[in-house]
């Protein structure tokens, strides 16, 4: 029982950075833009969040937990949004190829993160690391409630970013299905010409969705850098994001562009990634066991090819640039 409980908690912790990336990318893709730069934006968000909290700590000496959390989130969000803004300008205003631009953003963001991470490390004399107070901010669960037996551990033992991700998923789902603005955004992604003819400011919607989506992806990076259970625990480690962004892009397809389904899908992939540590199978080499999440992703993507329901298809104009006066 204890193993199972620990396994579930670990799965949720492992799923959260994926969930951030997935939700950000869902919002982006709903506007018709395929941003393959999730990985890059995670790097940017991660290094900025670390820098923000690190320098805050250095400046005040005894950091306040709430302020540290806010600074981490805001820095990560804004920096990743900056990456998404470059992407938006290139693909929306200049109508550049989205695949190429997204890949370039990944390369750029990876370099950006490692570069500033190393610089901070060199300045700090070897490696950069936040103190115990700030580490606790990104690791500790909800006080009092988490002490309830079983339920406390199952529901209230997570750091605040887990609950933030859940809240974003619920809000995003409500936004897309129940509000006028959400309806407009879906129309932009399905058929920008239709949206335009209906009087929707297409470019504004695309910019906002892509930039906010990018910011949300950046929170995934923050999580990986700051959380110690499933990340590096407030220390900059070279190439720490290591593929989470790409998994998130795949989970978007797995979840058929639905924020609610992405909760389950990211949990499945998260669970598979921690499975070997809780339920080791001796007759399979551990290296093979550890590639399960990736195998599952490939299997799911193949299965999706055979799914034909209209509601589950990607936004119809995903990846295509829009220009009103095109003939």
């Amino acid at each position: 029982m204890d193993t199972f409980l620990n396994f579930v908690v670990a799965a949720v912790l492992a799923a959260t950075p994926l969930l951030f990336g997935t939700l950000g990318e869902i919002l982006t893709e709903k506007s018709g833009h395929l941003n393959l730069g999730v990985e890059g934006m995670m790097f940017m968000g991660g290094v900025a969040g670390l820098a923000g909290t690190y320098y805050y700590e250095k400046a005040v000496g005894e950091p306040d937990k709430l302020v540290a959390a806010v600074i981490g989130v805001v820095c990560a969000f804004l920096c990743a949004m900056l990456g998404a803004l470059i992407y938006s300008f290139l693909t929306i205003t200049l109508r550049a190829n989205q695949n190429v631009t997204g890949l370039a953003l990944t390369t750029f963001g990876t370099g950006f993160g490692n570069f500033f991470g190393e610089i901070m490390g060199n300045a700090a004399g070897g490696y950069v690391s936040v103190g115990t107070v700030i580490k606790a901010v990104f690791d500790e669960g909800i006080p009092v409630l988490q002490d309830i037996p079983i339920i406390g551990k199952l529901l209230f033992s997570y750091n605040f970013l887990v609950y933030l991700a859940l809240a974003i998923a619920l809000v995003l789902s409500y936004f897309l299905t129940k509000t006028r603005k959400g309806l407009n955004l879906r129309a932009v992604g399905e058929s920008p010409a239709t949206a335009d003819a209906a009087g929707i400011p297409v470019s504004t919607y695309k910019y906002l969705a892509t930039c906010i989506g990018g910011g949300i992806c950046g929170l995934g990076g923050l999580y990986i850098v700051m959380n110690s259970a499933n990340g590096t625990g407030g220390v900059w480690v070279h190439n720490s994001i290591s593929g989470y962004g790409w998994l998130a892009v795949a989970i978007v397809i797995f979840a058929t562009w639905s924020p609610l389904k992405s909760l389950i899908c990211s949990l499945v992939i998260g669970a598979l990634s921690v499975l070997p540590y809780y339920y080791p199978i001796t007759f399979i080499p551990s290296a093979i066991y550890e590639i399960f999440p990736y195998l599952a992703t490939v299997a799911v993507l193949i299965m999706i090819i055979f799914r034909k329901k209209k509601n589950n298809l990607p936004p119809a104009s995903l990846g295509l640039a829009y220009f009103r006066e095109e003939r």
Binding site: K178, T179, R180, L183, N184, R186, A187, E190, S191, A193, T194, A195, D196, A197, A198, G199, I200, P201, K308, K310, N311, L313, A316, R324, E325, R327
Partner: protein, 512 residues
């Protein structure tokens, strides 16, 4: 005199070096249906797109109800009560009819589809529509989609309605219904503009006609005081004869025998069900049907591009053994020495390669001829020159990418290539779709030439007026089944229309 709903003064729009509209001035009035007539590329749609805010004019003024306005975006147009129904519907497929209604509207409050549905119902009752607000657009037929578009404009309070070729995809019966609705709107005091190049519709529906030629406004006429011949002359700029010459079938020989042809598509839906017919050399066999009734699958099945069951027996010209070609790929068919030509519906998707030049596109048919490992480029280039010359293709040269040519010229290249091989069977799908009157007649003549040469011509068409004039026999498809085969010389388009909408429809009509 009453102020006009819309008055255009010297409106000009250029795209690069192409002048789409040159100082066009015209008037749209309330309580009147205005037909905007012109050939392809004469600037009808461009002009109306400037009214609906899609394009911004380079010069000239627009007055709405007597006041000068600037229409900068589609939402400006809505605010002025201008609603345009585009030829390619502007609807989001995955949303319901009700959701499509409110896209982009700046209404307050939560999204409540029930309230929207109620409002839609009121509009529907007023004009005699019938639409389910909760139905997804992808589940709708073309005519339902069009109804949604019209209701959408009315929902947004449009009192000036512009319809771009609304009847292109409708059956005669559906067209009649649409016209009744438009007349209702006219009676209601709305201003209606209908863009079209079908003269019969202009004569039937409109009060006034404005004619555009090559972007220039060449005349305003009262419909009651004009006739189709005058309109055509004005539209084309010279006198044109509007009759298709149909020669007698000289001793037809059976070339193709289709038996029990059935096809199930990828979604498991039966799209062709037990099709039987013969095609004869020296005749034009027309195929009519509402779009998506199996026309595409039928032709592609014969051409070896679509998996079908049943038999396709080909009778060679030299009188040798008939052979079943079902299951053969296009390459097999060529290797068996069967001369079969196919002009597909999707010109630049299946027929030609847009980025390659004219000569290279000719080569697509001959690249593997001869024994040399190098392709023969000289013969295709000569063929390209010949096609350009004989079919009067407007192009700067044969080294131009095909996509840079206009639709009509692209089609001439494609048809030219296909008939160059002197086919025994020539199949064409929607060969004149989107082409203007002049080019259409060139294509009809080419079909007739092939027929007179002895080829079996299969012509899938959508304009029933043309089908009954051009074809010797017409096979009507309805939901993937043969609804009837009628004689083109004795049938009427009403009979064909009935067969299109219901299996064996003509018989039922007789009973009533």
């Amino acid at each position: 005199m009453e102020t006009a709903a819309i008055q255009l003064k010297n409106l000009t729009k250029t795209f690069g070096s192409v002048v789409a509209n040159d100082k066009v001035s015209l008037e749209i009035r309330h309580g009147e249906i205005l037909a905007l007539l012109g050939e392809n590329g004469s600037g009808k749609t461009t002009l109306m797109n400037m009214l609906s805010g899609i394009y911004y004019p380079d010069g000239g003024e627009i007055y709405v109800n007597g006041k000068e306005v600037i229409i900068d975006s589609p939402s400006d147009a809505f605010d002025l009560g201008i609603g345009m129904i585009h030829q390619h519907f502007k609807l989001v497929d995955v949303l319901t009819a009700a959701e499509n209604m409110v896209l982009g509207l700046k209404e307050k409050g939560r999204l409540n589809t029930k309230v929207i549905g109620e409002k839609m119902r009121t509009i529907c009752e007023q004009y005699g529509f019938n639409i389910d607000p909760d139905k997804k657009i992808y589940d709708m037929s073309v005519s339902e989609k069009q109804t949604v578009e019209i209701v959408k404009m009315l929902y947004r309070g449009a009192d000036i309605l512009i319809l771009d070729e609304p009847t292109a995809v409708l059956t005669p019966q559906e067209t009649e219904k649409l016209f009744a609705v438009l007349r209702n709107m006219r009676a209601d005091g709305k201003a209606v503009v209908i863009i079209t190049h079908k003269l019969t519709e202009v004569m039937e529906l409109s009060d006034r006609v404005s004619v555009l030629r090559k972007g220039v406004h060449v005349g305003d006429l009262i419909t009651a005081e004009t006739n189709p011949q005058e309109l055509t002359n004005l539209m084309v700029g010279r006198a044109v004869t509007l009759n298709i010459e149909r020669t007698k079938c000289e001793n037809p020989v059976k070339r193709l025998e289709i038996r029990n042809l059935s096809c199930v598509n990828d979604d498991g839906v039966s799209v062709l069900d037990n099709i039987n017919f013969d095609a004869f050399g020296g005749e034009v066999l027309g195929i009519a049907g509402i779009s998506g009734c199996g026309q595409k699958e039928l032709l592609e099945g014969i051409a070896g591009l679509q998996k079908v069951s049943g038999s396709i027996i080909f009778y060679p010209v030299d009188g040798s053994e008939p052979q079943n070609i079902n299951g053969n790929s296009p390459m097999d068919i060529i290797k068996r020495g069967i001369s079969l030509s196919f002009v597909p519906e999707d010109r630049l998707g299946m027929g030609l390669i847009g980025n390659m030049d004219l000569a290279d596109n000719m080569m697509l048919r001959s690249y593997n001829k001869g024994k040399s490992p190098f392709a023969d480029r000289k013969t295709p280039a000569e063929l390209a020159e010949k096609v350009v010359d004989e079919l009067e293709v407007v192009t700067p040269g044969i080294n131009v990418p095909v996509r840079n040519l206009s639709g009509g010229n692209v089609q001439k290249i494609l048809v030219g290539r296909e008939i160059a091989s002197q086919p025994t069977v020539l199949m064409s799908a929607y060969a004149v779709r989107g082409l203007d009157i002049n080019t259409s007649y060139t294509i009809y003549n080419l079909m007739n030439e092939q027929k007179n040469r002895g080829a079996a011509v299969i012509y899938v068409g959508e304009d029933l007026d043309v089908l009954v004039e051009l074809c010797d026999r017409i096979l009507v498809l309805c939901g993937g089944k043969v609804s009837g085969i009628v004689d083109g010389r004795t049938t009427t388009k009403e009979e064909v229309g009935l067969l299109m909408t219901s299996l064996g429809g003509a018989k039922e009509a007789e009973k009533q």
